[in-house]
Symmetry: C2
C-alpha cells in the first residue's frame, strides 16, 4: 500500500526497477563512510536497502542531513533506484532528499546491527531495540508462518477457531500455580489451560482449535518455562489419541516444510535448519522408554515421570529428531485422561518430544460420567468443585481427544534459539513484568 | 479424516454416494415416528443427516436400540447411503447397526432442536446445549470465516501476527475498570487493550496485528459490553489514520463478501443478510456529525462524546450502513492520539460506526517524546508511571497509526444477533463466571 511515507517497502526495491523514483521510510540500520561515499543501510519490517550518497554529487542540504543521522533514527528517503552488483541484493537508492522523522538519541542501550552481542537479560530489558535485530525479525517471521500453517491445516480438517474464557471460577487441573484475579470483589483465577472449556466445546461443535494465552505461576527460572505462554490447543469429538496424534504430526510436518520453503532467508540469518522429519513419527510406549533408559543405566523406576535428563538420554537413543512417547501410567496424567479399556492403569496419552523437551501433550479423554467422578476422587479432587464441567456428561458427551502444544517451545525447534524467553516478544516470569 | 468412529461427517453424505457403506457419528438431533418408519436426524459439527429405519425391515436388535434413544444421545451409525428426494438434502442412511456411545438423560434443560425458545440467561446457563443449536453453529462458522479473512487480508498487506503480554504492571489508558492480578505477591493488572505494546511492536516490526483477549471491569450490564472480550488490533509504522482506515474498510469489505459467498447456508439459518457496503465508506467529521444532530433537534454540545442515542440518530441520517466518524476533539481521545498539526484541538482519530454501535476505534499516534509527555500531563497522568513506554520514544519511534475492532460487535453486524453475549462462546460479565 502506498502511503505518504513510502511508495515501497525496503525489500520490494529490486534491480529491475532501475531509474524508478521511489520513496522509502525506515530506521537507520548502519552508516558507513568510504572516502567519497556514504552508505546508509535503511531497515523496515520487510528488510534492508542501501542508500548511497556521493559526496561530490549530493547537495549541501542533503549532506547536512546525512551528517546529523544517528543509528536507529527514523528517516524518509526519496530517490532513484540504481542497480549495482556491488550493493547488497544488487540494488541501491541514490537519494534526492532525506527527511529525519525522528532523531534517535545516542548511544543506544543495545546494538541493533548485531556486531556487539548482549546477554539475554539485557536484551529483554532493551527489548524494543532487540526486536529490531535481524535475528529477532527472522524469528517473528517464522512464527507468523507457523501460525498461518497451523490454522490452515486445522481448518482443512474441519476444525473451527474458538476463544475460551480466560477468567475462571475454579482450578482446572488441581489448583497449584494459579494466578488469582480480583473479579468484581470475588476471587477468580487466570486459566492455566483451555482444557475443560475446549472439551465442552468439542461436545457442542465437534472439532475446535484455539491459539491463545494461558498462565502458570512458575516459581522456577528455566529456559523452558514462562508465567504467560501461548498455547495451541485442539479438541475433537469422535476421535481418540491415535487420531489426534496423526493431526499433530501432520501439523508439525506441514509447518517445518513451509518454513523451509518460505523462510529460507530467515533460517539463513539464524544459521539454523529445522529437523527433517518423516511421517509417521515413531511411537514409543512409556514402558519401552523406561526399559531403554534403565538399559543405559539410569535409575528411573517405572511410574515416575520423564524429566529433562531422561528425555535427553531417550532422544540420543531414538533416531528420529521428533517422536511420541505414548501410553503413560494413568496416575501420572490429569483426571480427564482416558484409561485404556483393557489395562486401566495405563492411559491413552502421549507427549511429543524434541531433544529434551516435551513440545505437546495430549490424550483421549474420559467421556463417561461415572468414570470421571472416580478419576477426580482418585486424585483427591472434589467432584462438586467441578460441577460446572461434570454436569454436561449427562447430556451427550461424545468420546473425544485433543492436545496442547506450547508455541514457544515449538518455536525453539523451528528457530534453534535456546530459551523460550527469546522467542516470546515480551516474556513474563517471576521477576519480569516490564516491558 | 477416517477414524474408528466415522468414515464421513454428516454433511459429507451426498445423493451421489448411493449404496455406499458409511459410518457416521453424532448427536440425536430429532426423532420422528411415522407409522412404519422412524426418522432419526443425526447432527455433528458439519451438519445434519437423516437416518431412516423401516420397522418391517430392521432387525429386532436395531429396533431395540432405537427405542432406547433419547435426544442428544451420542450414537455411531453404520449403514448404506440412499438417495431419496423426500429426505432433507435428498439423501438418507439406511442403518445396519446403531451403537449408543453415550446416552443422554431426559428431559434436557434446553431444547436443542430449536422448537422451544429460551431467554438469553437460560441459554447462557445451559450454554453447552445452546451451542448445539443450529443458529449458534452458524454463528461459530461465520466467526471462523471472519477470523480467517481478517488474518489473510492483513498478511497480504505485510502485517505479522504478534502476541502482547496480558499481565501488565501499569494501567494503559488511565486506570479505571482494571482487574487486579496477584502476580507472585505483587499487584499487577489484566491488560485492557494491547495498545502500548502494539505501539512498541510497530516501532520494532513495522506492521503487526493481534487477535486476543482484553479485559474491562464493566459495572453495567448492557448487550454491548463484556468483562472479557476479543480485540482485533493492528498497528503500523509509517502510516497515518487515513492509511489504517483504508485497511479497516478493506477488512470489513472482504469479510462481508466472503461470508456472503461461503456462509450462505449459515446466513439462511440465521435468516439474516449482512449489510451491503461500497468503498470508500463515508467519512463524516465529528463537527459535521454534531451539526447534523443539532439540526435534528438533539441537544448535544460540541465537545461531548457520541453515545448510543446520538449514533442511532446519526445512522438514520447517513445512507451507508457503515461509516467513519473522524477528527474527534483531542481531549475526547486517549493520550496517545495524535493532534492535527494545524489544529491541535482536533485529533487524527476515527470510529467505525454501524447502527448505534462503535465497532472500531483508531488514530494516528503521537510519536514525538515531548508531545507525548505533554499529552499525559494534560490528562492528569504521571509520565513517570509510563516510563516503560515513554523511554522508547528516544530511540527511533516512527510515525504510526492503528485501530482496535471488537470481535463480538463485529459479529453482531455479520450475524444480526442482538447481544454480544450471544456471539461470545462463554461470556464473562459482572454476574457470570461460569460456565
Amino acid at each position: 500500500m502506498r502511503t505518504r511515507y513510502k511508495t515501497h517497502r525496503c525489500a520490494e526495491i529490486e534491480p529491475s526497477m532501475q531509474r524508478q523514483e521511489v520513496t522509502i521510510a525506515g530506521w537507520v540500520h548502519q552508516i558507513r563512510d568510504l572516502g567519497g561515499k556514504k552508505f546508509i543501510i535503511v531497515r523496515d519490517g520487510s528488510g534492508l536497502i542501501q542508500v548511497t550518497i556521493s559526496k561530490n554529487e549530493a547537495s549541501p542540504e542533503l549532506l547536512e542531513v546525512v551528517k546529523e543521522l544517528t543509528l536507529e533514527s527514523v528517516i524518509k528517503v526519496h530517490g532513484k533506484v540504481r542497480a549495482d552488483p556491488r550493493a547488497p541484493r544488487g540494488v541501491e537508492i541514490t537519494p534526492s532528499t532525506i527527511e529525519i522523522l525522528n532523531l534517535a538519541k545516542k548511544p543506544l542501550p543495545l546494538d541493533v546491527s548485531g556486531k556487539v552481542s548482549a546477554d539475554l537479560d539485557t536484551r529483554l530489558r532493551e527489548r524494543v531495540l532487540d526486536l529490531r535485530r535481524r535475528e529477532m525479525q527472522a524469528v517473528v517471521k517464522i512464527m507468523d508462518t507457523a501460525l498461518r500453517v497451523i490454522r490452515d491445516y486445522l481448518r482443512s480438517q474441519g476444525f473451527v477457531e474458538v476463544f475460551t474464557p480466560k477468567i475462571i471460577a475454579a482450578a482446572t487441573e488441581g489448583g497449584a500455580n494459579l494466578f488469582p484475579v480480583i473479579y468484581f470483589g470475588r476471587e477468580a483465577f487466570l486459566a492455566q489451560s483451555p482444557q475443560l472449556y475446549k472439551e465442552l466445546l468439542a461436545a457442542s461443535l465437534e472439532r475446535v482449535f484455539e491459539i491463545g494465552p494461558a498462565w502458570r505461576a512458575e516459581e522456577s527460572d528455566t529456559p523452558y518455562h514462562l508465567s504467560e505462554f501461548i498455547s495451541v490447543d485442539i479438541e475433537a469429538a469422535f476421535m481418540d489419541y491415535n487420531d489426534v496424534m496423526k493431526i499433530l504430526e501432520n501439523v508439525v510436518y506441514e509447518v517445518i516444510k513451509t518454513v523451509k520453503e518460505e523462510n529460507a532467508e530467515e533460517l539463513s540469518i539464524l544459521n539454523y535448519e529445522p529437523p527433517t522429519v518423516s511421517l509417521p513419527l515413531p511411537r514409543i510406549t512409556y514402558g519401552e522408554a523406561i526399559e531403554m533408559l534403565q538399559k543405559r543405566g539410569l535409575a528411573v523406576p517405572y511410574g515416575e515421570d520423564l524429566g529433562t535428563p531422561e528425555l535427553r538420554v531417550l532422544s540420543s537413543i531414538i533416531s528420529s529428531p521428533l517422536y511420541f512417547v505414548i501410553d503413560f501410567p494413568t496416575k501420572l496424567r490429569p483426571f480427564y485422561t482416558k484409561p485404556k479399556d483393557e489395562t486401566p492403569e495405563i492411559s491413552e496419552s502421549f507427549d511429543l518430544v524434541w531433544k529434551h523437551l516435551e513440545l505437546a501433550s495430549g490424550s483421549s479423554r474420559v467421556h463417561k460420567k461415572d468414570m470421571l467422578i472416580r478419576a477426580l476422587k482418585e486424585r483427591g479432587l472434589n467432584p462438586e468443585s467441578f460441577e460446572f464441567f461434570v454436569r454436561w456428561f449427562d447430556y451427550g458427551m461424545p468420546p473425544h481427544a485433543g492436545w496442547g502444544l506450547g508455541l514457544s517451545r515449538f518455536m525453539l525447534m523451528l528457530t534453534g534459539r535456546s530459551s523460550v524467553k527469546e522467542v516470546t516478544l515480551f516474556p513474563r516470569d517471576k521477576k519480569r513484568l516490564v516491558p
